[in-house]
């Protein structure tokens, strides 16, 4: 039976025969929706390129990112140095390529930690209600009351400047909006009949939370995270720029801009190249987030 169907038909079947087919089918439908959004595809391609760049950085980079060559400092872009050199004569392209690893590390860790904290706190607060909700939400409000970067600065100042601490500080300051979002979603879900029905099967609180409520909150969180990613990159760059994140000579993009700012008028490329990189990646995440919203928006999926 399957051999008379094309793979596409098999995936899009309205009556899947196996669990795997159903899951792949749902996934494929999502992919088709995503693919229809050209800009989102552009974002995805940029991000895949970024991943590839980070993975193969040593192979791709023409020079060592740390090799100084004071004789050829502040060179404009040329055949030798495609994106020019910085104040210590290091090849900017190579530094950017290696820097993508740091960027991905920061973004990846923050994107893993912050939403999970937020999801946990938000859903527990929304689901439990009562004083648990009160306490958790007051804590969230306290965090929200401070501007994010200031709070992160305070954390890093207390913990000591390093890239690990910068990530931690960013994650700790980024979760409150996710908690808010997850709580709001939970409030709309928790009185739904399907939760009552699951309770009637004997499902305990933990099960309701993790198996029934989380899956519904996760999709809007993912979208939100993708859209926030640009902000996280910029905050990380900001910390780097202030000298509180990655330490020299690490080729972190924010720190590179910071290095270049003294020469911005005469040797614009030193600051502009990492700036352009940050801009491109931030934009890619935003486009991706938009596409994911098409796919994951519960309104679009149902009915």
């Amino acid at each position: 039976m399957t051999n008379t169907m094309t793979r596409r038909e098999w995936l899009l079947s309205d009556a899947p025969q196996t669990r795997r087919q159903a899951r792949l089918g749902a996934f494929y439908q999502g992919w088709l929706t995503f693919r229809a959004n050209k800009l989102a595809m552009l974002g995805l391609i940029i991000l895949i390129l970024l991943l590839g760049m980070a993975a193969f950085a040593p192979l791709l980079a023409p020079k060592s990112p740390f090799a100084q060559d004071l004789a050829s400092r502040l060179q404009p872009p040329s055949a030798e140095h495609w994106l020019g050199t910085d104040a210590l004569g290091r090849d900017i392209l190579s530094r950017l390529i290696h820097g993508s690893r740091i960027t991905l590390f920061i973004v990846g860790t923050v994107a893993l930690i912050a939403p999970v904290i937020g999801l946990f706190i938000g859903t527990v607060a929304g689901f439990a209600g009562g004083w648990v909700d009160q306490v958790l939400m007051r804590i969230t409000d306290i965090f929200l009351a401070f501007p994010k970067l200031i709070l992160a600065l305070a954390f890093v100042a207390a913990l000591g400047p390093s890239i690990g601490n910068a990530v931690l500080a960013l994650a700790l300051t980024a979760w409150p909006p996710y908690a808010r979002l997850a709580r709001a979603e939970t409030l709309t879900i928790r009185n739904a009949d399907f939760i009552a029905a699951a309770r009637l099967q004997g499902a305990g609180r933990a099960r309701l939370l993790f198996r029934h409520i989380w899956p519904l909150c996760v999709s809007s969180l993912i979208v939100r995270v993708a859209l926030d990613m640009a902000g996280i990159i910029l905050s990380a760059a900001g910390l780097g720029f202030l000298g509180l994140g990655a330490q020299p000579p690490m080729p972190e993009w924010g720190a590179m801009i910071s290095d270049g700012r003294t020469y911005i008028l005469d040797f614009w490329w030193v600051a502009a190249m990492p700036g352009l990189a940050i801009f491109t990646v931030s934009m890619a995440f935003n486009l991706l987030g938009d596409g994911l919203r098409d796919v994951l928006d519960p309104k679009g999926g149902a009915k």
Binding site: D14, R19, A22, D193, F194, R199, G202, R211, G301
Partner: protein, 256 residues
């Protein structure tokens, strides 16, 4: 007739909230549903019909009175596994009672696992056959199902635990008449096959007349009357409210 009733509710009060804004949704309600019977609950909208079912099912913890299911007395809102194997509920709105991201298979297998029933694969297929859906529906998601099909899945979920008492909260009011006929036939068949007991809320007197043997009528959170369905048919009701209902269900007279 010495068997204890399947469900006995005695002097049930249910309220929401605390004193200044306390709402007494059900006041001093008592009913007994014999094993194998089909009992109808009709009455004014907002009179507490759903609330009674929810309190029995353990979805509301603010109640007082005496509840007995299959001879066992129930306390508070905690229900043990034994209870869920005896009592299950079907909700009014088929669009709200299925998790939007769980496939039919996921819903049923989770239920079976929670009830500690093995042999999941074969069971699911049997359940789907029982409710007239067939296996091709097993891996669909709710958005791939019509309202009637969703309600069948909800019924299958309730049947998975092989309960003896089904609480049905307006199981067909969101469905069109041709699907309603299918679901009502299905419910009659299932009752005959498995010897189920039904407690069924509905506002459609014709549906109660078709499905139930005995009915109770509610108004303002109180039971105003209990009567046999034959009496309902003959229009031989005692309470004014019931008589009004019967009269109103016949017709809507456009004024003038």
């Amino acid at each position: 007739m010495t068997k204890p009733p399947m469900l006995s509710i005695h002097d049930l009060n249910v309220w929401f909230g605390d004193p200044p804004d306390r709402v007494d949704a059900v006041k001093h309600a008592s009913i007994a549903v014999a094993e194998g019977a089909s009992f109808g609950l009709v009455g004014e909208s907002g009179s507490g019909k759903s609330t009674i079912l929810r309190a029995v099912a353990g979805l509301i913890d603010s109640w007082s009175g005496n509840l007995e299911v299959a001879g066992r007395t129930i306390h508070g809102a905690r229900r043990d596994r034994q209870f869920f194997k005896t009592v299950q509920m079907v909700f009014q709105d088929p669009y709200a009672s299925l998790h939007p991201r769980h496939s039919v298979d996921a819903v049923l297998s989770e239920t079976l696992r929670l009830q500690g029933i093995g042999d999941v694969d074969r069971r699911i297929n049997r359940l789907l056959d029982d409710v007239g859906l067939g296996r091709s529906f097993r891996f669909r998601y709710p958005h791939q199902l019509s309202g009637g099909q969703r309600q069948r899945v909800a019924i299958a979920r309730a049947l998975a635990a092989e309960p003896r008492l089904l609480l049905l909260d307006e199981p067909t009011s969101a469905l069109d008449v041709s699907v309603q006929a299918e679901i009502l036939n299905l419910l009659s068949d299932l009752r005959a096959e498995h010897g189920l007991t039904y407690l069924m809320v509905t506002h459609d007197l014709a549906v109660v007349g078709h499905m139930c043997d005995r009915i109770a009528v509610m108004q303002h959170g109180r039971l105003v009357e209990e009567l046999q369905v034959e009496d309902l048919r003959r229009g031989a009701a005692q309470a004014d409210y019931t008589r009004g209902l019967i009269a109103a269900s016949g017709s809507y007279r456009a004024g003038g």
